[in-house]
């Protein structure tokens, strides 16, 4: 279809995206502000970045966060993929409704409630809170997101592919490894990325699950911005935003190229 923007649509899109992106742009811009004042431009400077990378507390928190995110999103991806496979393929079993309920509940559960529940669990079983308990908590709530992403891929998965693998001599496990997994791999990877991002971002659950011995980056950010704007945080935000932006843009360029290539292939195939 050859459509063009109408006046109304162009205006609403411009205003809408300005609303979404202006605050971030301002944040990024003022991370280079030499002045400590919120809205007064004191000239270009990278001093907040320099201060940031010399701030040991931030570096420690970043390291904790990274460790938590890598471990929990990886375990969550394994568990979440298993859970998706169980939901989509294992047929009926005792307590299936409870199982699917437990998969979907964390998606709509307020963070404060989940955090409280985790904390009370860790205390009642006498587990010392620290980086390990944050990992457990993050694994639990992110595995549900992984499971939703993977099962939405499995829904559209042609089951006869798995049957064909069995028919050609695969054991069920071999069929999963050599046919199902390679095909759903993109969904598993996006599940991992989602879990990773959620773990990086989480403030509330980590605050409950972490003891005095562990501080994650969001916890550190939260405690330093509670009292007001902090240029060091602006610098940190800018770094994080740039990483995400580069990641998302290159991912979308990559999929765009994949789609274009697939389309070209299909046209070639149709020509014979």
């Amino acid at each position: 279809m050859n459509r063009r923007f109408s006046w109304f649509n162009a205006t609403s899109l411009t205003l809408g995206f300005a609303f979404l992106y202006l605050p971030i742009l301002i944040l990024v811009l003022f991370s280079f502000n030499a002045s400590k004042l919120v809205a007064v431009w004191g000239g270009f400077s990278t001093k907040w970045y320099v201060e940031l990378i010399h701030d040991q507390a931030f570096l420690d928190a970043a390291w904790v966060t990274l460790k938590v995110a890598v471990v929990s999103s990886t375990v969550a991806t394994v568990l979440g993929t298993m859970a998706a496979y169980v939901l989509m393929r294992a047929g009926r079993f005792l307590g299936r409704t409870l199982f699917s309920g437990m998969i979907y509940a964390p998606l709509v559960m307020p963070d404060v409630i989940m955090g409280l529940a985790f904390l009370l669990l860790f205390i009642s079983i006498g587990l010392d809170r620290g980086i390990f308990t944050i990992m457990l908590a993050h694994t639990t709530f992110t595995m549900c997101y992984v499971s939703v992403v993977v099962s939405s891929r499995l829904v559209t998965f042609d089951r006869s592919l798995e049957e064909a693998a069995l028919d050609l001599g695969c054991t069920p496990f071999d069929a999963f490894r050599s046919v199902t997994l390679p095909i759903i791999a993109p969904a598993v990877i996006s599940g991992w990325l989602l879990a990773f991002t959620l773990s990086l971002d989480d403030l509330v659950i980590a605050s409950f699950a972490a003891g005095p011995s562990a501080t994650t980056l969001p916890m550190k950010v939260f405690s330093s911005v509670r009292l007001g704007v902090n240029p060091e945080i602006n610098a940190l935000s800018t770094i994080m935003i740039s990483i995400v932006t580069v990641g998302v843009i290159s991912a979308s360029l990559f999929t765009k190229r994949q789609i274009a290539r697939a389309r070209a292939d299909e046209q070639a195939a149709a020509r014979g």
């Binding site: 042609d158 006869s160 592919l161 049957e163 064909a164 693998a165 069995l166 028919d167 050609l168 001599g169 695969c170 054991t171 071999d174 046919v179 390679p182 095909i183 697939a262 292939d265 299909e266 070639a268 195939a269 149709a270 014979g272």
Partner: protein
Amino acid sequence: MAQPANRPVFAPWDDPKEKPLIRFQNVTKKFGEFTAIDDITLDIFQREFFALLGPSGCGKTTLMRMLAGFETPSKGQILLDGVDQAPIPPNRRATNMMFQSYALFPHLSVWDNIAFGLRRSDMAKDQIPPRVEEMLRLTRLERFAKRKPHQISGGQRQRVALARSLAKAPKLLLLDEPLGALDKKLRQETQFELMDIQETTGTTFVIVTHDQEEAMTVASRVAVMDLGKMIQVDTPDRIYEMPNSVYVADFIGDVNIIEGAVRGQDGEKAQIVWAEGQPPINATTAAPVSAGQKVHFAIRPEKVAIATEKPEGRANVIAGKVHDIAYLGNISTYKVEVAGGKMVKAQVANERRLARRNITWDDEVWLSFTDTAGVVLLN
């Protein structure tokens, strides 16, 4: 399948000494309350091209999936070479299946798709490449070995699926609507290709289809199914010429079905009264019938002749008026209204060109057929 005259007729089902490759023994399959397969007993022989034909939901796919091992019978046994298949999982069965969707692995090349099953068999590693090459040659896919499934056309994908399922040289190949995704012209070409491949490899084929023309073309025997039951299992010509029920007569090809009552029987000759004031239909039936018995008389339109003048010396002659004409190029079908408002179709080959034909709408015409042209179906 048409048989060359000098070859012995292939009809193992008529030979009592022949052992079946597959035997269904009183097989029933239920899904909850729903009975998909209802007490079926059936033999399929080596080298047969056996077609399961029926409307969707008749149980033909379930029957095939039980052969592949994806479903297990609720009751009864399925024997392959005399061995009960129930405890054998799909990956250990000597059967292979060609899926309706082809189920080609999108992440593997054509070559790897064909080699997939071989790599999971006890075939020696160095035997695999020659076998794959052989299958590529058989299906004329040599040029496409390195392509991925989405890089080839629909017809080529169909041949990859066939090559993949044949590569392990199964005792039995199952084909689930193998030509359903192809357009008509390609489908017809591929039917003959399938028959050739079946003959070269000597594999037993069981094909599921809802397309009666396809079943008639490729199969040595056709099983017509409905509501989980086998209605008739026979060679294509017998299915067409000697249907055993109104259902089969109606399902295969075009047919006129005339309801009537038997007036009398003399040897194989019977008279059927079908409308008041009309002479009875003279028909042939081997089955004994009694006077007054309700029957259906089925006759194919191409066995009914149509003329403007009353023909002499025909066993059955019926008067009527042309109601409709369908011109199909090679043939024309006349829909003729006869006594009691009944419609009877007569089919005529168009041997002459348009201007020379003399029957048109509302003409008074005479329909005629011999006493062996139709079948008497008991209810």
